[in-house]
């Protein structure tokens, strides 16, 4: 990834994030019912939107990879899953921090938290597959299939969890004010925070994607080198093409 792009994205993210922080702590009025704790909302909601978008991207990359067979889609999907997981974890953590003073408990099985937890588990499984299978050549196909099936599952999860919690409502009152923001300052703050987190996501995604592209290129080169050596009858010198750091084994 070239230095100028990196710098530009980083600067943009920093600017937007500083703006968002200022607005959250200085500009936006305190919400009437929940008090200052409600300000977490402006970080919590953008994280959730970004996480969902990231996981959608994983599925799209999976489809393109299976269809076109180009490694670039596999690398992009993997990067999106990793970064998406970070944001999904943040959603759960900020949600718990918000829940404790408001509802008196760290965790509750309300429909949104439950759905986010299932999402977190789905993509945790995806990342575990990547970690366990990284040395098999078909890992990209497997990951693409899992990514697609997980994304296809998400709407059913949302519907079923919502129904679960509607028919048997939680003891605690459902979170009010989700997006019912009356004050235009609140809307503005939310939008700026969303822009900040989107910029952060894009920056991290491109950074991670560039690293994965480089890794793919190195592994391809190593494989080609092995083939060249083998073709030349030079079987004593091989480069390992697993995900562990490149090693030159048994030089004779």
């Amino acid at each position: 990834m070239n230095q100028r792009l990196n710098l530009a994205l980083g600067a943009l993210t920093a600017l937007l994030m500083l703006g968002a922080i200022y607005m959250v702590f200085m500009f936006v009025p305190t919400e009437a019912d929940q008090g200052i704790v409600q300000r977490i909302f402006y970080f919590h909601v953008p994280c959730a939107w970004v996480a969902f978008a990231a996981f959608g991207l994983v599925a799209i990359c999976g489809i393109f990879y299976l269809w076109l067979g180009q490694d670039i889609w596999d690398d992009l999907g993997y990067a999106a899953a990793e970064i998406g997981m970070v944001f999904c974890t943040l959603v759960l953590v900020t949600g718990s921090i918000w829940a404790k003073p408001i509802w008196g408990t760290w965790w509750t099985w309300d429909s949104r938290l439950t759905t986010t937890l299932i999402l977190w588990l789905l993509y945790g499984g995806y990342l575990m597959l990547r970690a366990m299978a990284d040395d098999t050549p078909q890992v990209a196909r497997f990951a693409a299939v899992v990514g697609i099936v997980a994304a296809v599952d998400v709407p059913v999860v949302v519907v079923s969890v919502r129904l679960w919690r509607t028919i048997h409502p939680a003891v605690l009152v459902t979170r009010q004010g989700g997006h019912g923001l009356e004050d235009p300052r609140m809307v503005a703050t939310l939008l700026v925070a969303l822009a900040a987190f989107t910029a952060l996501f894009v920056w991290l995604l491109i950074l991670r994607f560039a690293t994965l592209r480089m890794r793919t290129r190195i592994m391809t080169l190593a494989r080609d080198l092995n083939l060249a050596h083998a073709a030349a009858g030079d079987l004593c010198c091989t480069i390992s093409t697993t995900s562990s750091p490149l090693t030159l084994s048994s030089l004779r």
Partner: protein
Amino acid sequence: MTGFSVILRKDLRLELRSGESTIALVALSLLILVVLVFALDPVGGVRDAATAAGALWVAMIFAGMIGSTRALLAERDNGCLRALIASPLDRGALYLAKLAAAFIFMAIAEAAAIVLMVLFFNLDFDSRLLRLLPIIGLGALGFSALSTLLAAISGRLRAGDLLLPLLAVPMFVPALIAGVKASGAALTGASFGASAQWLKILIAFDVIFLTSGYLLFEHVIGED
């Protein structure tokens, strides 16, 4: 004879001769139910219908995972999988055959589990169980569809048997929620109308995963 029926009949014949998968699955379901009785300590009777339904579904999931792994494992011996792939057999047909085999094994295990559930949770052998059957059937079908696809992946990995539950269980959650609720309602004598929404979710789940599995199976099946 279509490819689907050839593969299915082969798998069923194999299982009929050895019977090891089915017996192990039934035993596993029994053990899981026993563990859950100790864990949950239910009073029993219709008051605990919801708990009984939950226990049944837990047994289904864990038995189902093993069943699916076994259905594909058999092919790895003697290079059968290579032969299957080399043959002109449609991958989708292979998926459906494996799925049908897994479903049948699960159904047998579930039948045993239902009997055990009635005994352990002090329920009655009456018409309410008949209402339970289609719900369990839909759940087993969905789980077989899901886990046949995922077992094709996990079977080719070193630590695959660790990975299968990690992938399958979160994906199965919607059917689990809907199935347990619908089963609980059926056991307390409610009509199908009451659980209509849950049944719709189960059916949608089955359709989605059968279609996805059918379309995606060709990308994951292969030998090592």
